[in-house]
């Protein structure tokens, strides 16, 4: 089944409890992340633009996605993904 971006099905996956919070970061914040780790964008882990979550949040190749995951010990960990085609 082909699901268009923004369709109800693709939006629903964001509500699943096992899907952590994803968001596209602003250009400014993205540059800060790269500066913090001293890397070029493609040295971040990648996420494909056709990944269901990337489609659901409308991430485009070249964007940086911020993922906030819960850890088993109750804390949070922030990781970033570079969106690639």
């Amino acid at each position: 089944m082909v699901s268009k971006r923004g369709s109800s099905v693709s939006q629903k996956i964001l509500e699943h409890e096992l899907v952590p919070k994803h968001e596209v970061v602003s250009l400014k914040e993205g540059l800060e992340v790269l500066k913090k780790y001293g890397i070029k964008p493609d040295q971040l882990p990648w996420i494909k633009a056709n990944d269901p979550v990337a489609k659901a949040i409308g991430a485009k190749p070249g964007d940086i996605v911020k993922v906030v995951r819960k850890t088993p010990w109750g804390g949070e960990i922030v990781v970033y993904r570079y969106v690639v085609p």
Partner: protein, 886 residues
């Protein structure tokens, strides 16, 4: 040397396929002579041994570059092939490209619009994500292959078929059969593909045009790469590659002659095929479906691919695998009287391994002595290096005394290793970091390496003939690293999960039990003997018993070595069966209590001092008092454990597993009852009234039930037998304390071996309806299906022995299978993970600095310090603060 030395920096390496023009350009000679040497033994010009290919004999001057053997890098020649041949290495790509491209016009079988757009996209992708670009061209290729009608010229595409190894066939509509495409046809098709289409298929048209995958010119490698060997008799023996090249030249020349002479096509085709065979095996002699080219002796030739491939190939054998000096290898044997940080090295080995030591005014006298002792007397020296860099071999120095006199600061003496030097000790397979640890050298008589028994588990070593390697670090940095990071004491806690892997085992545990058990009372002499074996002088505590004699308990002695602020509570291994104790209210002495450094209650056994025990007495000592303390504890207290065994005598004998007649009868009675139950089930099964386990057949249900009953019977037999054993029987002590063996082993020795199984089933394979001809056909009873009534003590009957061997074999087979499989898995994992590291910001990076994890393990916890995955042990903190466990 006339080579002009220029300094250049390699900024990039680009791989491509050599074009025929390039091969000709770099060639210094065309090879066409089938003879290699003339009557005088001189290389024939234009042969595969042509002198232009590089100077190989000392004294010869290269006619191309004017260098002698030292400076001549070797030069390539070439063969002009009479007809083109396929390069096997590329056969897969040739086949793919042919299918992706129109057989008529040579265009990529996609609409022009798609090609243009795709190419634009591909180029952009290639700049930023070469990896994705490769995937994209893979996708393009797949799509093109699927197209059956050329969108450019409308030609209907015939089906292509690849017959391994290198035959490509095309379906002919008229003859309705597959027709072989010869290399000439294939090459002309590949030539037709325009550069743009080639690029979109993932090739770089400048560096590797697809038609170059079909060879028309073959490069001849320099002789330096395939040197001939002189056998003593003066006969020259050529390298495998040279043999193969001669074959190629010979076939090629014959083919040329026949073509010129206008020979019939069949003869030419035959020779062409032969040429293809020779070129193929020259490149790779292990192509599946091709008979490998063989030497006269029948040995397959080692050609180009074989030089690179596999464990002993150029990559794994020479580039990744390094051989080193200053190393030694010999059999290992145990020595409980050295420290766990030490390794015993034989004098013979110590006289071969050296450490370079700079002469200073503080060590000059000592090093003079070493030089005087020379290479054959330990502690001596093997070499002296003068300040101007001359190495003097002491084996050939007549007057070592005067050399010793001439020593001065600035000289370097390569002296023998001696006590206190650091060495790296290793046992293969080196599966984890504890497989190589730093040990302090202790030179001992004998011919083996000696190691402390407690360091066997990390190396997985035993003394049934195991050998280990020893390496002597040669620089100050290496020695400092070895001392500060690699020494055994820093590996008592494993980085895998933070537990102790170096701790008590086997006799240490039996000894700990015997020392701390309530019945052990020691006289003053005993105590002093024990303390002296621990190598300490200590003031004795008040004796536990004052009259009629002063007697001390073992617990008091152990307490002398426990820090005064240490508290601990925990179960002992012997806390099982009727000796079970859950808390401090323990009558059986099977609950360990340490308060303010005094062992008040409980025996020390595997649960307290053993390796790999969670939250144990020894674990907390190591964790809270550090590695130095732990080493000291092992080197002193553990030695007392051994000493008490030596004093009391501790061994296992046949009588230890003997049980009285009464017990035997009880066991037989019980087994007979179980057999009767089995018979009942069998009868039910035969009648077809057996209750079936859900999801199983009647037969499976029967087997499950029988196995259940018989396992239960064996356990019961064990219980009966163990009930009759004296609790201070040595075999039983070892089983109870966890030193060695378990109740099942005792059961098998004293009572019955029980059911033998193969693949979890009772043994039934062999003859029709029975595993051995001694039984009647379709006997489903316990004995006929591998139940062993006898014990190791009573001895097995012949049929029982067969069943036991059948069961035992399975164990051997799957250990053999498992080790090979896990070895390969380990190799793949290590290759994938080897260059990951944790950066100072706690991110995990690869060698290019890309991020793998944003925080190590996503929690930043060091598993060596977070036992079993838990970062904090709250219970222990409470116990330490308030003195007892809640």
């Amino acid at each position: 040397m006339t080579v002009t030395e220029e300094e250049k920096i390699v900024s990039m390496i680009k791989f491509g396929i050599l074009s025929p023009e390039e091969i000709r350009k770099m060639s210094v000679v065309e090879v066409k002579s089938t003879e290699t040497y003339d009557e005088d033994g001189l290389p024939v010009p234009h042969s595969v041994m042509d002198p232009h290919l590089g100077a190989i004999d000392p004294g010869h001057i290269c006619p191309v570059c004017g260098n002698s053997i030292k400076g001549c890098p070797g030069h390539f020649g070439h063969i002009e092939l009479a007809l083109p041949v396929i390069n096997v290495i590329f056969i897969k790509y040739i086949y793919d490209v042919l299918r992706a491209v129109c057989a008529n016009c040579g265009r990529l079988k996609l609409p022009q619009k798609d090609i243009e757009r795709g190419l634009k996209y591909y180029r952009k992708l290639n700049e930023r994500h070469p990896y994705l670009a490769r995937r994209f061209s893979e996708y393009i290729k797949k799509r093109a292959i699927k197209t059956t009608v050329c969108p450019h010229c409308g030609y209907k595409q015939p089906k292509l078929k690849l017959t391994k190894p290198i035959t490509i066939e095309e379906y002919n509509e008229e003859t309705r059969s597959y027709i072989r495409l010869n290399p000439l046809v294939i090459r002309s098709r590949l030539e037709k593909i325009p550069n743009e289409d080639v690029e979109l298929l993932g090739f770089d048209p400048q560096e590797s045009r697809p038609e170059w995958m079909i060879l028309t010119v073959l490069p001849i490698p320099p002789i330096a790469i395939r040197p001939s060997i002189m056998i003593e008799t003066g006969i020259r023996s050529e390298d495998d590659l040279t043999h193969k090249l001669v074959d190629i030249v010979r076939t090629n020349e014959r083919l040329k002659e026949h073509i010129v002479a206008g020979a019939p096509q069949i003869i030419i085709d035959d020779l062409w095929e032969l040429l293809q065979y020779h070129v193929t095996t020259y490149l790779d002699n292990e192509v599946p479906g091709f008979p490998p080219a063989k030497h006269r002796s029948g040995r397959p030739l080692k050609t180009l691919a074989q030089r690179l491939k596999g464990k002993e190939g150029r990559f794994r054998g020479n580039l990744s695998g390094k051989r080193v000096d200053f190393s030694a290898r010999t059999v290992i044997s145990p020595d409980p009287y050295i420290s766990i940080n030490e390794v015993g090295v034989s004098v013979e080995v110590a006289m071969k391994l050296t450490v370079p030591e700079k002469v200073t005014e503080w060590n000059i006298e000592e090093l003079r002595k070493c030089v005087i002792n020379g290479p054959y007397k330990w502690p001596g020296a093997n070499y002296v290096v003068t300040p101007d860099g001359r190495r003097i071999d002491l084996r050939y120095v007549k007057d070592r005394k005067s050399l010793a006199e001439s020593l001065a600061p600035g000289y370097i003496v390569e002296r023998h290793i001696r006590n206190g030097d650091i060495a790296l000790f290793n046992r293969q397979p080196s599966l984890h970091r504890m497989s190589i640890m730093g040990h302090i050298v202790k030179v001992l008589p004998g011919r083996t390496f000696r190691l402390h028994l407690a360091v066997c588990p990390p190396y997985n070593a035993d003394f049934d003939g195991d050998e280990m390697n020893l390496h002597i670090p040669q620089t100050e940095d290496a020695r400092a690293e070895a001392r500060e990071l690699l020494k055994v004491q820093y590996h008592i806690l494993t980085p895998r999960y933070g537990g102790v892997i170096i701790g008590g085992l086997q006799d240490y545990i039996s000894g700990a039990y015997l020392l701390t058990v309530k019945t052990t009372l020691l006289t003053k002499e005993d105590v002093m003997e024990l303390l002296s074996s621990a190598g300490v002088v200590k003031e004795l505590p008040e004796p536990a018993i004052l009259s009629p004699r002063e007697l001390w308990t073992g617990k008091q002695i152990v307490s002398l070595f426990i820090p005064p602020d240490f508290n601990y509570h925990g179960k002992a291994s012997i806390s099982a069966g009727h000796l079970k104790c859950e808390d401090i209210e323990c009558f059986w002495d099977s609950y360990v209590v340490v308060r303010t450094g005094k062992l008040l209650m409980g025996v020390l056994d595997k649960k307290s001092i053993g390796a790999e025990q969670q939250d144990s007495f020894f674990y907390f000592l190591v964790k809270e008092y550090g590695a130095d303390f732990a080493v000291n504890f092992i080197d002193s207290v553990f030695r007392m454990f051994i000493r008490i065994l030596e004093k009391k005598g501790f061994t296992l004998r046949l009588d230890d597993v003997a049980i009285p007649e009464k017990a035997k009868n009880e066991i037989i009675q019980m087994l007979m009852e179980s057999f009767k139950k089995v018979q009942e089930y069998v009868d039910q099964y035969v009648k077809g009234v057996l209750e079936v386990v859900p999801g199983r057949t009647a037969e499976e249900s029967l087997e499950i039930k029988i196995l259940e009953i018989l396992a239960e019977a064996r356990d019961k037999a064990g219980e009966i037998a163990v009930g009759y054993l004296d609790p201070f029987n040595h075999a039983f002590i070892m089983a109870r304390t966890g030193a060695r063996g378990n109740v099942l082993n005792l059961t098998q020795m004293a009572a019955t071996l029980g059911q033998m199984t193969v693949r979890g089933e009772r043994i039934w394979r062999g003859y029709m309806g029975r595993p051995l001809p001694h039984f009647s056909v379709n006997d489903l009873g316990p004995i006929a299906r591998g139940f062993i009534v006898n014990s190791f003590y009573s001895g097995l009957s012949p049929t029982e022995m067969f069943m036991h061997a059948a069961g035992g074999r399975e164990g051997l087979v799957d250990t053999a299978v498992r080790t090979s499989q896990s070895g390969y898995m380990q190799r793949r994992l290590i290759n994938a993970l080897m260059d990951l590291y944790v950066e100072y910001d706690y991110t995990v990076r690869d060698s290019s600095g890309s991020i793998i994890q944003f925080l190590y393990g996503e929690d930043g916890a060091d598993p060596a310090k977070a036992p079993h995955g838990k970062p904090i042990n709250v219970e222990r903190i409470v116990e330490r603060v308030i003195g007892w466990k809640l």
